[in-house]
Symmetry: D2
Subunit: 132 residues, 4 copies
């Protein structure tokens, strides 16, 4: 199964006073992960929006095992779990690069909608590209 | 069952270019909701930390039904779903104040740990206060 | 001179591992301050955008004197410093509510533009309302 | 004069409903810029904190010329402008990589303090390294 690896360094802005990354920031990493996966399949999300296709999140979850810390380089491993008629599910794993420690896993479900917020079927040519 | 209502207005910072609130920001509202619920039970989270008690998030999820938009006043309804030996689960509902539209629901699970990141049993006097 | 007071509580999300509010978050408070000032003058920013008027920031600065901390209620004091032909300057003071300690001051300059990003003169009826 | 170049891609989280990057997010890029400059001088900020040296921001400003947009790769050019007895000033320029367009410039002033929040003189060996 195709997996996309994306790396980013934890900034001070990401941390909270517990000395670790604040929990909602993992979802921003998930966004970066799926954006880069889509780019690699030949479907930059920016171009999808130009084609009047939007992928809002309808479900999101994250399970936290260990803490990402300031200045860690983390790896976001993104996969497509399922492609439905008008939805797509991505899964994510977050690891610390230095020692490979598994930090968190997550999942997001997205609807395909148009500018008028109507749910639409995934166009065939896009479905083909997503089935990498 | 005890429910705590908290209101906050959507800022421009909360929005993204889809013209709605970016999905990770709902988790910040969840934090505000549980903080105020804890305060109302007589357990301000700030004081818990002074007593060497920390409640990191171990699981978080959100289901998005409709979009919060700029300048909306939203209501965060927070409840305690379950108190375990050393964990607590909060649930959340997000509504738009103006028309009462249901926007999202979510859940967070927290471990009780001390400064050394050891999981600890919830002290009896705290458990009592939480069972409102 | 008209001053608008706005209160908000520091969330955990606002903090960083130095145990204080991360510096860029003060600018989000400034936004909340000017939004509420505008509302009080009868010009909710949301309505300005509906009238094809946008106020992007062209200059922003903040001077930090003391640290806002988790769970502090802070007060944002917002004033209009200057109204130009097609620009407006707001100033801000941030204080801790509990003891009145002065934490930070700042300033933002905004251009008036339309949807096509052209700079426009401030309409007379808006100028009148702003001169509170 | 030594200049450090850092690149990062604009995420959806960075944008607001005006379709551009929200103004406070430029300060997070500034942080990333100075962090990487410090690393390159042999002074990773993480190590400074371990040596009981902290560099809180005392002044920050940004001047916005054009808008960074979703999916742009932006370049942060960071320089040390001045090293005082117990302070340091960084300057920043933000450019769009694709066309080199100049988007914003900024400046941050930092005090050197210890864990007890006392201002301290910059140690000689650190001053030497900073004078690249």
């Amino acid at each position: 199964m195709f997996v996309h690896n994306f790396e980013i360094r934890v900034s001070y802005a990401d941390t909270d006073q517990m000395g670790v990354v604040y929990y909602s920031n993992y979802f921003i990493w998930f966004e970066r992960g799926r954006t880069e996966l889509l780019r690699e399949t030949g479907l930059p999300y920016k171009d999808l929006e130009k084609q009047n296709l939007f992928l809002p999140v309808v479900e999101a979850s994250c399970s936290y095992k260990a803490s990402a810390q300031y200045d860690d380089i983390i790896i976001v491993k993104t996969r497509i779990k399922k492609i439905g008629k008008s939805s797509i599910i991505f899964t994510y794993e977050i690891l610390r690069k230095l020692d490979g420690e598994f930090l968190a896993s997550g999942e997001t479900t997205h609807a395909f909608i148009n500018r008028d917020r109507k749910v639409i079927r995934i166009p065939a040519e896009i479905k083909t590209k997503l089935k990498v």
